[in-house]
Point group: C2
Chain length 138, copies 2
DNA sequence: TTCGATGCAAAAAGTTTGCAGCGAA
DNA sequence: TTCGCTGCAAACTTTTTGCATCGAA
């Protein structure tokens, strides 16, 4: 089931601008900054504005339909929210990759550790140095 | 062993400004934004500048002596880098709490999933709604 | 028809940088 | 004495907001 279908089912008001934002996220599948989403959306609909892209991304993130990752400077948006996965982030250049960890199903926060929070999800980010940064020395 | 000792051992040049930054982080123990560190540092040394606070925080984070958490808008700095722990973040207000999860010692990234990255650490953030935001309705 | 989404531009928020001078080791 | 840290102010990046208008449902 693709992102646009899921959004329609969620009753999200669908405008041409919002459609190209969703399409940009879906077509890449990976992790895009707001700026990157904006550039791709604009290829399809030149009059879309950056503010509208931010509005749409914030709503999608609040709905839980896309993930918002804030590892380094700029936030990145991930359309794969419906497929459980973890991330691998380069501490040098900020590059992100999707991964599947082992043992994540045993990861639990005991009730006494919940501090009254209502739990929604767990985000797991492995940090390291990507092959390119390693090759580039240090 | 406190933060200042660890920094001295690491050969970090210690100036009055850097000292009050480290002291501010240590005295609170929790999670502070750069601005909060700045305000606290300034109570002890009024002429310290925000740029210097950012310089110091960035160096400390790069050294691995403090953790930098970028869950929401502003980055937060955590002096407890030498004690393994996870975080619990409120998706509404951004409040952070330290927690200890169960099963985290079994969490592994299989070699075939490492994509050539050199692994350094794992960051685990539980997301939820804090008691205050729940009380405040929805 | 209605109410929410949009574009634009301006502002806010967060962070980094350049440079001359100062001070920790 | 030296090299790196500092303050200041300005620049930069990222994100949000106000408001009049437009269009999806």
């Amino acid at each position: 089931m693709d992102l646009l279908e899921r959004l329609r089912d969620a009753g999200w008001r669908l405008t041409p601008q919002r459609r190209v934002v969703a399409e940009a996220l879906q077509e890449v599948g990976g992790h895009l900054t707001a700026e990157e989403v904006y550039l791709r959306a604009r290829e399809r609909l030149p009059e879309v504005s950056l503010a509208t892209v931010y509005n749409a991304l914030n709503e999608l993130a609040a709905m839980g339909q896309v993930l918002c990752l804030a590892t380094d400077g700029a936030k990145k948006y991930d359309a794969n929210a419906h497929v459980p996965h973890q991330h691998l982030a380069c501490v040098r250049c900020g590059r992100l990759a999707d991964v599947r960890a082992r043992g994540e199903d045993h990861l639990r926060l005991p009730a006494k550790e919940r501090r009254g929070y209502e739990l929604l999800s767990v985000e797991i980010v492995f940090k390291g140095i990507c092959p390119d940064c390693r090759a580039r020395g240090n």
